[in-house]
Symmetry: D2
Amino acid sequence: MGRVLRIGRVELKVLDLEKSVDYYTNIIGLEETGRMGDSVYLKAWDEFDHHSVILTKSNSPGLAHMAFKVETMDDLAYYEKKVEEFGCTTTRISNNTRLAEGEAVHFILPTGHHCELYHEIGFLGTAVGFRNPHPWPLGWKGIAPHRLDHILLTGNDLKTVTRFFVEALNFGQSEKVVTEGEEELLGSFLFTTNKAHDIAFVKGPDAKLHHAAFHVDSVHDVFKAADLLSMYNVPFDVTPTRHGISRGETIYFFDPSGNRNEAFANGYMSYADMPTITWDAAKIGTGIFYHARELSESFMKALT
Amino acid sequence: MGRVLRIGRVELKVLDLEKSVDYYTNIIGLEETGRMGDSVYLKAWDEFDHHSVILTKSNSPGLAHMAFKVETMDDLAYYEKKVEEFGCTTTRISNNTRLAEGEAVHFILPTGHHCELYHEIGFLGTAVGFRNPHPWPLGWKGIAPHRLDHILLTGNDLKTVTRFFVEALNFGQSEKVVTEGEEELLGSFLFTTNKAHDIAFVKGPDAKLHHAAFHVDSVHDVFKAADLLSMYNVPFDVTPTRHGISRGETIYFFDPSGNRNEAFANGYMSYADMPTITWDAAKIGTGIFYHARELSESFMKALT
Amino acid sequence: MGRVLRIGRVELKVLDLEKSVDYYTNIIGLEETGRMGDSVYLKAWDEFDHHSVILTKSNSPGLAHMAFKVETMDDLAYYEKKVEEFGCTTTRISNNTRLAEGEAVHFILPTGHHCELYHEIGFLGTAVGFRNPHPWPLGWKGIAPHRLDHILLTGNDLKTVTRFFVEALNFGQSEKVVTEGEEELLGSFLFTTNKAHDIAFVKGPDAKLHHAAFHVDSVHDVFKAADLLSMYNVPFDVTPTRHGISRGETIYFFDPSGNRNEAFANGYMSYADMPTITWDAAKIGTGIFYHARELSESFMKALT
Amino acid sequence: MGRVLRIGRVELKVLDLEKSVDYYTNIIGLEETGRMGDSVYLKAWDEFDHHSVILTKSNSPGLAHMAFKVETMDDLAYYEKKVEEFGCTTTRISNNTRLAEGEAVHFILPTGHHCELYHEIGFLGTAVGFRNPHPWPLGWKGIAPHRLDHILLTGNDLKTVTRFFVEALNFGQSEKVVTEGEEELLGSFLFTTNKAHDIAFVKGPDAKLHHAAFHVDSVHDVFKAADLLSMYNVPFDVTPTRHGISRGETIYFFDPSGNRNEAFANGYMSYADMPTITWDAAKIGTGIFYHARELSESFMKALT
């Protein structure tokens, strides 16, 4: 069976739909690809599937669901079975429940988050196309990330949710944060691609979103993104810095509903045979913010 | 079965072993990890396996062999069978034929290149380690790439070698260069990771090496590498530019035996479900050198 | 008396005025600030004076004139006298001969180029303003350089023109290229600001333009500029590289009339007390193109 | 008369001389060029004068003196007279009072800081030399800045000290921070080169040092510097960000005695004819830290 391909979409709950669309299109620089009901569908310029972000009007912010794309319909059935075997109840979501989507397998993570697997989704192509393409599209607005990169969630039982991703979905664990003697897992970083992480968890309340991250190319582009956020008066959580975990260059900021976003560059390549990198709890400050070397209260407390 | 993990090693034939070791350690910035017979073993600072480059004294330059690492011994047996089914004869190379290596499966590609699959190899770890690591090591010499990135070979029948990698080794094809009507394949770019390519072929004589590439982080590091090469008076083939194919930033230059090296940054992420990007033969100049928009004679002719 | 402030404007002769305006506004990213007769006036977003580039319709490309801004009207009179004392005939050009310009002092350089000094010119301000400014303007098109940076001309007698700039205009010489024993001067780089050069000369026919350069911030922006030029199919002379002379990062390309442009980043700071850097003629290749280490024919031959 | 060339040296008071030398040579990456008495003399690789930093053992940290280099001995006499005319008492410091220095003119600024003017100083040359130089030296340690860039001091009467630099030393004022109606000056940024500032003052106690800044090339090098500081466990004041004032990219950190240092990149070019940029007091947060948009307590309070 194939590996899970990637985190294909996140559905974010937003308070004011039009204000959110304005933010995600003009400041983040995603493209609106459709609307259905109370939801607006968006994709980044370098993504070819119909959408990677769904904004859905709601009374509170947060993550409605996230979904991982698999390579074939056989893979969908295979991973559905693995999820069931792990002990999570799955249900099939019929196609076109959301716009341009095929059938999906739904389940709830041990951390309480709604998660789906899917294979079928409409194809739109990238902004540069697949025939003699230019490397990037002219005139794109905003931060203009390549793609949705990863998501960080909070939960209580990180050992179980890690075991779920490793055993049921065949992810690797690139990094972990542990208390002395590894008695408790405070952070767990998981990958299915060759990125440093595709999904991660930190210790905290169940069913909460810490952030959704978008990929940009370089520290130069992280700075450009940070400048843009100041021009648009978007609130920052974290100004430009490097992560110890993942080595990536980063900024954090908030969408109009208070959902945290990240613009993330670089990060090492992971491989299935790499040893898991271990961070001692005492070093978590350096692990998260390599320069400041300590956690900020806002970074720990603001969850949606 | 797991996907093939990566191009794990290249064995380069070199004319003067000590001169070559000096070049690959002080200018490229690899670390010597061992010697056996007429061979010197090297790894990049961010690689954890025992070696990724073997320099072997020879009367002519070129590629002695390349090898792909698989995730388990079961994968080794699985891909061995697939290679046989494709019609390539395989032989087992016993462990410790070369330094720190386990058993390998050898075969000859349809383009005449010696290729191996393996799982077992000695573990040395990266220069920054796996416990509360710093993002990069202090005091490293030379270009200091993260890792061996990919290899480009020449061959006559690119359709068959592409089919081999796709069918026998489960690679994807990220890009191709075609004549009108796609009658002939002039270039084929293949991936097993999420990189734009892990191995590639361009039309040319069988069994020849075009270049071995090392990965650096950014266009800034490509320029730093180019500056270093001028300080050490290393001959360039191609000064800093961007590829249309892969979008990567690049320089090409020659080791003391005339084997072409590349320092390569960025490049897009590939996925198993991405459509293959097609370049028309008339656009190959732009595909290879996005700025100059034409091929140079040296780039086409110099092969080892 | 104050130092000469900067190269304030170049008037370029162009064959097709509208095509040239389209190129300099949409691809270079200058702003059109006015028209008069057969001329169009342009400035970069970070310049505050009315214009730095004048495009004038002509039957042949090249430099109509360049002009240096001085700090006060007293400085204008002072340098006028110095130019006369050097032996160049000066004439006063009355104000509003060209758009938004005050009176200027005209003379012909020992290399045959038309040169002016001026103090008065209309003030338009930068695109970010002078009250709580953002660091750069949103939505700017093209390469979007900060400013006109420098100009390179050819001439026969570089010793005399160097002496002119040093003695009459109080410039420093940052670098020179010399034949053995310094018998002949093949290149001369001159500064009045703290840049590596504000005007430079290389050995060649009198009264010719080699290139006009625009300033961008970094090697990243040089690459962005190079990508843009390929998207717009602008012909390159030199793809991204570093200069030995000035240390700057650079690309060269041609406007629609064949006038060479440069996008130039970095370069060291010069000071009036720095020793002149000397390049031996045998090293001129490295001095000009630090990576390729040899001159190209097009770079030497294409003049307007 | 010539303009004042640059801030040529700062003498910093340090508590532990050897620890400070270790920090300024191995982490900042300056070169020790001599010792005399309780002082160690240092220069950056791209500076040609004998020293730009003097570390002098003392019971408390802070600035012992700073000095500006002028172009000729005539300039020294000229500016000495101007300083006297402004109303500051000058005294001549005889040559060789400190190592490799000629005669200097000493006076006390309206803000209580010890300041000198000088022309003569020993010449050592840069690390790359003046004949066919490479663009940067191989094997340099630490942050490896090009040069001492500027200094920021605190004082009570910023209007008078600004008037001093403008009237007596012929500086320009690039930026200022003002209360409503410009009644009070909270910040004043002054230049004699084409940099955004060579010396600056913010409202605070007299005779105190806020920071001494070193110049690096790019945001990439600011990040490299920040990484190095974490590797060496140097305390940060401010992690990577952009300034609104000057547009520069920056980090702030502390030497072993608590003197604040900055690694500073880019910043716009200033000219004698540029209008002074004005920041309203309400926008000072954005002016200082363009991303965070508010001042931090440590940045305001930590002075030496």
